[in-house]
């Protein structure tokens, strides 16, 4: 469901570009999704395909990529990747999971910038963690005709 919300915003913005630039239609949309958001790329692509209808959007190609996340500890300098974070997120209590129709999700799925509340250094345990990228959805390119 969250993927549908993201897709809706992207499509709406792309549509506004058609009018703003006085183009006739959108032919390509390139999106990059931060790995920390744990967005289902296939679900987002499917949501985009579903919403790309009508004379200004129909037939537009989509390209969705994941931007990798890398983590480091500001206290001890340790570095780690998303695999370690996934292990840590498995212990988020069910009382904090956001309820979705199909499956409940960890809060970082919606607010990736909340990582300091859920991610800690696997070596020293500190929550003073730095993340290099991978926390946002970015619209990289829209091709208009």
């Amino acid at each position: 469901m969250h993927e549908m919300g993201i897709a809706g915003g992207i499509v709406e913005y792309s549509l506004s570009l058609v009018d703003e630039r006085r183009a006739s239609r959108v032919t390509e949309i390139w999106v990059e999704v931060g790995e920390l958001m744990q967005v289902d790329v296939e679900a987002l692509s499917e949501a985009l395909r579903t919403l790309l209808s009508g004379p200004k959007l129909s037939g537009a190609k989509t390209n969705v990529k994941v931007r990798s996340a890398a983590f480091s500890c500001r206290r001890c300098g340790e570095g780690w990747k998303m695999d370690e974070v996934k292990k840590q997120l498995a212990s988020v209590p069910s009382s904090l999971l956001v309820e979705e129709p199909d499956s409940d999700e960890v809060p970082l799925h919606f607010l990736p910038y909340l990582y300091p509340a859920f991610v800690h250094c696997p070596k020293c345990g500190s929550s003073d963690v730095a993340v290099a990228d991978g926390q946002d959805v970015q619209l990289m390119r829209v091709v208009l005709e």
């Binding site: 309820e99 959805v137 619209l139 390119r141």
Partner: protein
């Protein structure tokens, strides 16, 4: 024709779209901690909802959120068709970082706070609102500046202070910042202005007369709220239902916000 949107911040765009659906934003802040900002923000939001205004309240106090306690809302949240559904309390839509984190501490630096607040606004399904009350944390840091940037164009500021000179001197600094950022000031709320006792009123935080506050803060005192110990044990919804004195003061404040001076 290719529109290169390299790095286009989708969340920023989405947040602005959400703000467009809000009639008016009332930022509640002080600069000083412990003066009752969340109490005032919650009470104002409940009273606006009581006047049949579609009202939301957003807690941007990332490190020390207390709004969920006043309004007795807690995790889990759930998603809806257009984003995350805010919790509801007394007819008010409520959103806070604490509804995602529970009792987990949230250690966080500078720019990440701004991004977090933007994401929170972007993903919340407020629907159309007449008023969004924004509960700000103490200090004049990232959260306050982020709120100015996101809501500045359609916001007014409500300064909260106690009568204590220590609080007033900090609030005076925020007053100068509000002026430099050209945020319209609605007025000053004197919280904990007095305590009601059987034999009359007492003044545990001192007495600040309206004219000296006006001179110091270059703004009118538009509400004086009593010390309300009942909020420690009951939700504010219940407190306003039971305490005529507090609910009357909040209704007058909401009325002033709706109708202006």
């Amino acid at each position: 024709m290719t529109w290169s949107a390299r790095g286009f911040p989708y969340q920023e765009h989405e947040a602005r779209r959400k703000v467009d659906q809000i009639g008016s934003v009332v930022m509640v802040g002080s600069g000083k901690g412990g003066v009752g900002k969340s109490f005032v923000a919650s009470g104002l939001a409940l009273s606006l909802a009581g006047m049949a205004r579609r009202t939301g309240v957003l807690d941007v106090d990332i490190h020390g959120a207390s709004l969920p306690s006043y309004l007795r809302v807690r995790p889990p949240l759930r998603t809806g068709r257009r984003g995350i559904e805010p919790k509801r309390s007394g007819g008010v839509k409520v959103m806070s970082v604490a509804l995602f984190t529970g009792q987990n501490p949230v250690p966080m630096r500078g720019d990440a706070k701004e991004s977090l607040i933007t994401q929170l606004v972007a993903l919340t399904d407020w629907g159309p609102l007449d008023y969004l009350v924004v509960d700000l944390p103490p200090s004049m840091g990232d959260e306050l500046l982020s709120a100015f940037r996101l809501f500045g164009g359609k916001s007014r500021f409500l300064l909260v202070t106690t009568p204590s000179p220590n609080a007033l001197s900090v609030v005076a600094r925020l007053r100068r910042l509000i002026a430099s950022e050209r945020i319209p000031l609605e007025g000053v709320v004197l919280n904990m202005a007095y305590a009601s006792e059987r034999r009359g009123r007492s003044y545990p935080f001192g007495v600040a007369d309206a004219s000296s506050v006006r001179k110091m803060l270059r703004a009118d005192v538009i509400a004086e709220l009593p010390l309300e110990p009942a909020v420690n044990s009951e939700s504010l919804v219940e407190v306003l239902r039971k305490s005529k004195e507090t609910s009357t003061a909040f209704k007058a404040l909401a009325d002033r916000v709706v109708r202006g001076p």
